[in-house]
Subunit: 293 residues, 2 copies
Amino acid sequence: MNYNTSFQQFINDLEQALECELGCNVIATNLMAAMRYSSLDGGKRIRPLLVYASSSIGEANYTDVLKVAVALELIHCYSLIHDDLPAMDNDSLRRNRPTCHIKYDESTAILAGDALQSLAFEILSRPNNFKNNANLLDVIYNLARATGVHGMAGGQDLDLQNTGRKINLNELKLMHSLKTGALIKAAIVCGYLLCQEVDKHVLDKLNLFADNLGLLFQITDDILDATQTTAILGKTANKDITSNKATYVNLLGLSVAREMAFDLYQQNIELLANLGKYDYLAQINDKVYLRKN
Amino acid sequence: MNYNTSFQQFINDLEQALECELGCNVIATNLMAAMRYSSLDGGKRIRPLLVYASSSIGEANYTDVLKVAVALELIHCYSLIHDDLPAMDNDSLRRNRPTCHIKYDESTAILAGDALQSLAFEILSRPNNFKNNANLLDVIYNLARATGVHGMAGGQDLDLQNTGRKINLNELKLMHSLKTGALIKAAIVCGYLLCQEVDKHVLDKLNLFADNLGLLFQITDDILDATQTTAILGKTANKDITSNKATYVNLLGLSVAREMAFDLYQQNIELLANLGKYDYLAQINDKVYLRKN
């Protein structure tokens, strides 16, 4: 993806902050190498950008925003490592490179995911790490809840349980709202919680925006999986179809899935218009809708 | 193990608190079932007892102590699930029952560990969950750091890297200080951080006590592995020897390992005597030294 100057600057700063958190001053060098391999590999950084975009609604400290963005991204990277494991999706390619358990080994990959999760919470609770720590416990809570059985891990479990089973659209939506939606929502909510003043009304609207964006993200993911090549995606294409997983594309057909994506995209534009000037979130809404990988 | 009345009451309350946190009101029922299976199975609850014993040094709120104890135990249970996985120690028996990946499956076991870790941090950050939240961020920090690459996960990585390699006593100590020592220390430190008043001098001594106790715990573990039956241990005996892992017993021989355990036990008695009246910690020191499984 190409970003505008402000987003690009933030991504550059984020990469530096990630590099800094994943320093090599550690006893378990093999483990840290695997953590670095799977985190410093130029992902799209959508969740960090959401933290940034959402924090820009009010007045937030920039370095605080970077730290929360790093925590969100580490959780995301951990989930990718575990999702790719042989016992899960058994994938060998991610971002055009061997997955963590292929590059290292399975035990290291399991531990790398585990330790990335811990590191996210370590960053958020480190003494004197934040300029504004008024809502820090709330940030940790939102992230922890979105990560666990009520969020991402729960959604991954539903996904695995559903494989090979015929499920309906509501079941598919519910699964994705946990598996990918919860962390996207946490990114948006946590970003906003870093602002000096938090308005309950705005928070409610952001939650609706986040629900739509999470669903939009998943539908476009399914569309890309069905229509793009492995080279463009940077991961194995047609994976969902060959593994017989329910997707929006095989449940609704390609054209209805595309309509649904467009509707969500439009709804989000209206939501933001009603809220006032929310440029950065609007740009991310565009990006997710228009992305090619 | 048999506990005195106060410890037994705390364990009873802890089991209830665990049951309460692992309620079934959840969408991902399969995942929650696995989390319950591996957490509500009557472990020795050493880490929760350490939280309790350490908190009793000063004035701490009892329900706060229970919550931190639950968080520590959930982290411990997550680590057992992942350690038992085929890619790790490949163990099929734990506390006299099939391990999580045998009872459920490998993907569920990976997710159950992941989600237990998240739940620990969720509990510690949940809005209005604690009566005294003065040091709550510090509690989260100590737990996160002890769990990740600088603690337990890092130690497990060293352990796996060391398998089949000849290592010396210092390397073995370093590995265990991370793998088991870090979480034991976190339990003791976090318990004390719940007290109304925290004395830096006491905290330093508790850190020394914790270092000794962690090492003592591991040495007695190795001695039991080499000398007890599978039935008494509740897990596969002689596992370390058959898997060619370095242990205190095969590095030092049984009798030197026993002497080392006794020295640590004695050092801790003296440490506590110098500090004043620390009955509960002394009792745990006894239990760890004298345990039969």
